[in-house]
Each structure stands twice: as structure tokens, then as C-alpha cells.
């Protein structure tokens, strides 16, 4: 077992732990901080998978912008009423998720998957190759994404505006 495999096992154990904390902690702020940890660990996995650009974007966009937005809304609303604890729900939800995880894992790891990666070239996953792919093969989705972001900005302003 080499160093990268040990690193993968440590990070995936921490990642599962952080995800469980997101779902099971009572305090919403603690949930948000656990989500930040989970997003950072996923960014580390991206870098290990030769995707440094995506890893940096993950930290900047997710752990930076989106989580600040979440924490801002949590502290803005300051929901004081604690959630009720419906025991039956937890059982059903966990059972459904367990079945889903088992079937997904069985489907995804259904033989056929290559065990060893293609030998990575020096430039694989670099910003140049990502940008080249983005601006040649995926120009139309890129432009549509910009329209989507514009719609999101306008929608957020309209929805969150105080009513006169």
C-alpha cells in the first residue's frame, strides 16, 4: 500500500465523518462548518485526481462563496426554535438511503470500471486544457450558464427584496 492509497483512506474516512456531521448535528452553524470541512476534503481528492483547477474552484466557489452565503443567511434569520425529533422518520430515511447507497455502489462498481488510470500527461487537468475544452467543445453550455447566473441574480434580488 503506497502513500497515495493511505491518504485516500484517511481522507475518505474524514469525509464520511464530516458528511454525517452535516446531517446529524443539531446546531445549524455546526452543520455549516462541517460542510466546509467536507468541501475542503473533496477539493483535496480533486487535486489527488489530477484536477487542480477544479480543486481550486471548489475551494473558491463552494467553501468560499456559497458557504459564506449559507452562514450569512443562518445568522441573518437566527432560527431559535429547535426542530422536533421524529424517531420514525429517521428510521425510514436511513433505510431508504441505505438501500440507495447499496444499489448505487453495486451499479457503479459493476465490473467494467478500469482499475488503473490512464497514464496522466504533464498537462492533464491544467487550466489550459480545461479552458481549451471549455471554449471549443462546450461554448454553447458556457454561454447558457452565464444566462443562468444572470437569471439567478435577478431572481434572488426579486425574491429577497422586502415587500413595500
Amino acid at each position: 500500500m503506497d502513500a497515495s492509497a493511505i491518504l485516500f483512506y484517511v481522507i475518505s474516512a474524514l469525509l464520511v465523518l464530516a458528511s454525517l456531521m452535516v446531517v446529524f448535528l443539531r446546531n445549524v452553524v455546526h452543520c455549516a462548518l462541517a460542510l466546509v470541512v467536507a468541501l475542503f476534503l473533496i477539493a483535496i481528492l480533486f487535486v489527488m485526481l489530477h484536477a487542480p483547477m477544479v480543486g481550486v474552484l471548489q475551494v473558491l466557489v463552494y467553501a468560499g462563496a456559497i458557504m459564506v452565503l449559507f452562514l450569512f443567511v443562518i445568522m441573518f434569520l437566527n432560527p431559535t426554535a429547535s426542530e422536533p425529533r421524529p424517531k420514525l422518520w429517521w428510521g425510514f430515511g436511513s433505510l431508504a438511503a441505505l438501500l440507495l447507497a447499496a444499489s448505487l455502489a453495486a451499479l457503479l462498481s459493476n465490473g467494467g470500471a478500469p482499475a488503473d488510470p490512464v497514464a496522466a500527461t504533464e498537462i492533464f487537468g491544467s487550466p489550459e486544457t480545461l479552458a481549451k475544452s471549455l471554449f471549443t467543445d462546450f461554448v454553447l453550455p458556457f454561454e447558457i450558464t452565464s444566462v443562468l447566473l444572470l437569471v439567478a441574480i435577478i431572481g434572488a434580488v426579486v425574491l429577497a427584496k422586502r415587500e413595500p
Binding site: 458528511s19 455549516a32 474552484l57 443562518i74 432560527p79 422536533p84 470500471a113
Partner: protein, 100 residues
Amino acid sequence: MVPLDYYLILGAVIFAIGVIGVLVRRNLIVVLMSIELMLNAVNLTFVAFSRYLGSMQGQVIVFFVMAVAAAEAVIGLAIVISVFRHRRSLDPQEMQLLKW
């Protein structure tokens, strides 16, 4: 290097944890955070496939997923703020105006 299967199983487990959060938590903000967790599990699967198949397309799609997730978080949180103003509560069970 660990085999691709391990990354896929990790992605499936994280996705299922996100599903638990969406199904059982009764706080709209935590439900939105669980959706972010599910999107990230899918991103992890995309990047793992991109690495093991030697194609850049997976990473490009992760870029788009991040943009859509940002838009989703912004609109979702705006709706949460708007709902909280009217009802003083974040419980999705109380949002039943459209319930038949």
C-alpha cells in the same frame, strides 16, 4: 493508486448521506446543505471518471455543475428568507399552502 471503484463507492456513500439529510431533517437550510453534499458526491464521481478514462469532459461538466449549484443555493436561500418572513419558521412541514 486506488482503483476507480473506491471513488465510486465513496461518491455513492456521500450521496446517500445527503439523501438522509433531505428526507429527515426539518430545517430548510440543512436540507439545502444536504443538496450541496449530494451535488459534490456527483462531482467527485465525474472527476474520478475523468481521471481514470483520461478525458477532460468530466472536469468541464463539474465546472457547469458548480455554476448550477451556485445559482441553486442563491435562489434557494432567497426563497428561505422569503418564507421565514411570512411564517417565522424554517420547518418544511409547515409549507403546505399548495398541498391538496
